[in-house]
Amino acid sequence: MNSPTPSAKVDARERQATAIVEAAELTRRFGDLVAVDHISLSIAAGEVFALIGPNGAGKSTLMKMFTTMLPPTSGVAIIAGFDVAKTPQQVRRRIGYVPQVLSADGELTGYENMLLSARLYLIPSRERAARVAAALAMMGLTEAKDRLVQTYSGGMARRLEIAQSTLHRPAVLFMDEPTVGLDPGGRRAVWGHVEALRKEIGAAVVFSTHYMDEAEEVCDRLALISGGKVAALGTPAELKARLGADATLDDVFTSVTGVHIAEGGKPR
C-alpha cells in the first residue's frame, strides 16, 4: 500500500489473495431469459482477464452488473471490496468502464470530454490540467485534443474513452468489446496503449471480445462464456493443453460448448 509500483513487487500468491473482482452465483434474468446463469469467478488485482463468447452469451450483461449499470437478480459481485448491489457508489469510484457503444461525446472536443470526466470523478482542480494533459499524451491524442470527437477515427475515440475511464486511476478497467469494428492497426494501437497504462496505474483489465487471437495475445486468463455460464476458465495455455499440442482456442470453445464461435459469433 505504500510502495509506488506495487504490482511488480507482489508475487503470484499474494495476487491470488487480493481478488479485485469476485462473483458468486451471479445471475440476471430478463423475464424468462436467464442472461447470466449463476456465474462464479475471481479476478486478481492487476490481472488481464478476457470474457470470450458469441453474441448473446451474456458477456455484456455480466459486464453491466460488474459496473453497477444493472442490478443482479441474485448472487453477489464484489468489486475492489465493495458489493455492486449495496454500495454502487463506492464501486463506481474504483472502476473505469468503456462500454461497447461509443461513450465519448462527439459534439465535444477530446479535451472537453476529458474535462467532463475529470469533474465527474472529482479530480482536484489544481491537478486537473496536468492529469488531463498526461492522459491525453499517454493515449497519443495530444495533437487531436481540440478537435470534435465526431472527427476522430474509431481507434482514436476508443483511446479517448480509455483515457476518460482511467483518469481517476481505477483498480479495474472494464471494457466491453473494445476493439470491435477497428482495423488491425487501430486494434494494435488500443492494446499497446492499454498495456502501457496498466503498467503505469497497475489496474486490472477485464474485457470481453469474440476475437480469439486478440484474447490469447493480451490476456493472463480467460473465461469462455456460453449460454450465460462459464464453460471453461484458465490461462490460454492451460485451456489449449486440455485438447493437445495443436489445439487453438477456437477448438477449445467448440469442444466445451459444441458451437463454433468464429462464424460471426452467433451460436445458433
Partner: protein, 274 residues
C-alpha cells in the same frame, strides 16, 4: 463477504461526497451542455422563429378580437409573457429526446458509470436546458419591445424573470426526462411529446385570462405549473403588470413541482441504460 483492496488503492479514493463535490459534478454536466451549444449556436437561433411568429401573427390578429378583456393593458401586453412561457415550455418539453439520443449514442453510459449522484446528473441537465430558455427570452424581449409592448426594464424585475425561466425550464425538462425514461424510444417520445405540449399550453393562462374559462378548466389551470410561470412573468415583464396568484405562490409552486420531478427522475434515469 469482503476481499482485500488492490495493493495500490488509496483507502479513501477520489470522489468523497461533499456539497462542493456535488456542485462540481452538477456543474460539469451543465457545462458540457453549454459547451455543445457554443459549438453549434445555429440551433439556438432556429428556435427563436416560432415565438416570433406567435407574437406577430397570432398576437396581431387576436388583439383585434373585441370582447376579450384582459385587464388594464392591451392584448399584446397580456400575450407577450404567455409566449415567453410557452417558448420555454416547447424547448424544455423535448429535452427528454436528448436523453434518449445520448443513451442510443452511448454518452449516457459515461454519466451512469461515474460516481456522480444521479440527482446531480438530473439537476445539471435541467439547469443546462434553461440556457436555451434564457436565449429565447432575449429574442422575445426585443420582438415585444419593437411591437410596443410596455416592458419593465427594471434590473430587479429582469433578474426575477431569469430566475423564473430557469425554474420553469428545469421543471419541464425534468418532466420530459421522466417521460423519456418511460417511453425509452425516440419514435414513441415524439408522439407523446406532441400530445403533452398542447394540453399544458392551452389549459393554462398563457393566451387567455382565467376569468373567461369555464369552472372545470379553471381548476385544471391551477394544477398546471405553466400557469404559475405565466403569472410570475406577467407581473415581472410588464411595466404595469400584476400577479394574480402572488409571486411567492408562483415561486413555491414551481419549486415544489421541480423537487417532485427531480426525485422521480433520479430513480428512473438509470433505467435508460439497463
Amino acid at each position: 463477504m469482503t476481499v482485500g483492496l488492490a495493493p495500490d488503492l488509496p483507502t479513501e479514493p477520489l470522489g468523497r461526497s461533499s456539497i462542493g463535490g456535488y456542485l462540481t459534478q452538477m456543474f460539469a454536466v451543465a457545462a458540457a451542455e453549454v459547451t455543445k451549444l457554443r459549438h453549434d449556436p445555429i440551433e439556438l437561433a432556429s428556435r427563436a422563429v416560432q415565438p416570433i411568429l406567435w407574437l406577430v401573427l397570432f398576437g396581431q390578429v387576436m388583439a383585434h378580437v373585441r370582447g376579450l378583456t384582459v385587464g388594464g393593458g392591451s392584448y399584446l401586453d397580456f400575450l407577450a409573457p404567455g409566449i415567453l412561457a410557452q417558448s420555454v415550455l416547447f424547448v424544455a418539453i423535448f429535452y427528454g429526446l436528448s436523453a434518449i439520443w445520448e443513451r442510443d449514442l452511448g454518452v449516457l453510459h459515461r454519466y451512469m458509470v461515474s460516481p456522480a449522484p444521479r440527482s446531480a446528473l438530473v439537476i445539471g441537465k435541467a439547469l443546462a436546458s434553461s440556457v436555451r430558455g434564457i436565449s429565447q427570452s432575449v429574442v422575445i424581449y426585443v420582438c415585444a419591445a419593437l411591437m410596443g409592448v410596455k416592458l419593465s426594464f427594471n434590473p430587479a424585475d429582469i433578474a426575477l424573470v431569469l430566475l423564473f425561466i430557469v425554474m420553469a425550464s428545469a421543471l419541464f425538462s425534468t418532466f420530459s426526462l421522466i417521460i423519456a425514461c418511460i417511453v425509452k424510444t425516440r419514435e414513441r417520445f415524439m408522439g407523446v411529446g406532441q400530445f403533452l405540449t398542447m394540453p399544458i399550453f392551452f389549459a393554462s393562462n398563457a393566451i387567455y385570462p382565467i376569468s373567461v374559462m369555464p369552472p372545470w378548466l379553471r381548476a385544471t389551470v391551477r394544477l398546471n405549473p405553466l400557469s404559475y410561470q405565466v403569472d410570475a412573468l406577467r407581473s415581472l415583464m410588464l411595466s404595469a403588470g400584476h400577479s394574480e396568484f402572488g409571486l411567492p405562490v408562483d415561486f413555491a409552486a414551481l419549486a415544489f413541482g421541480f423537487a417532485v420531478f427531480v426525485v422521480i427522475a433520479t430513480r428512473m434515469y438509470p433505467r435508460l441504460t439497463q
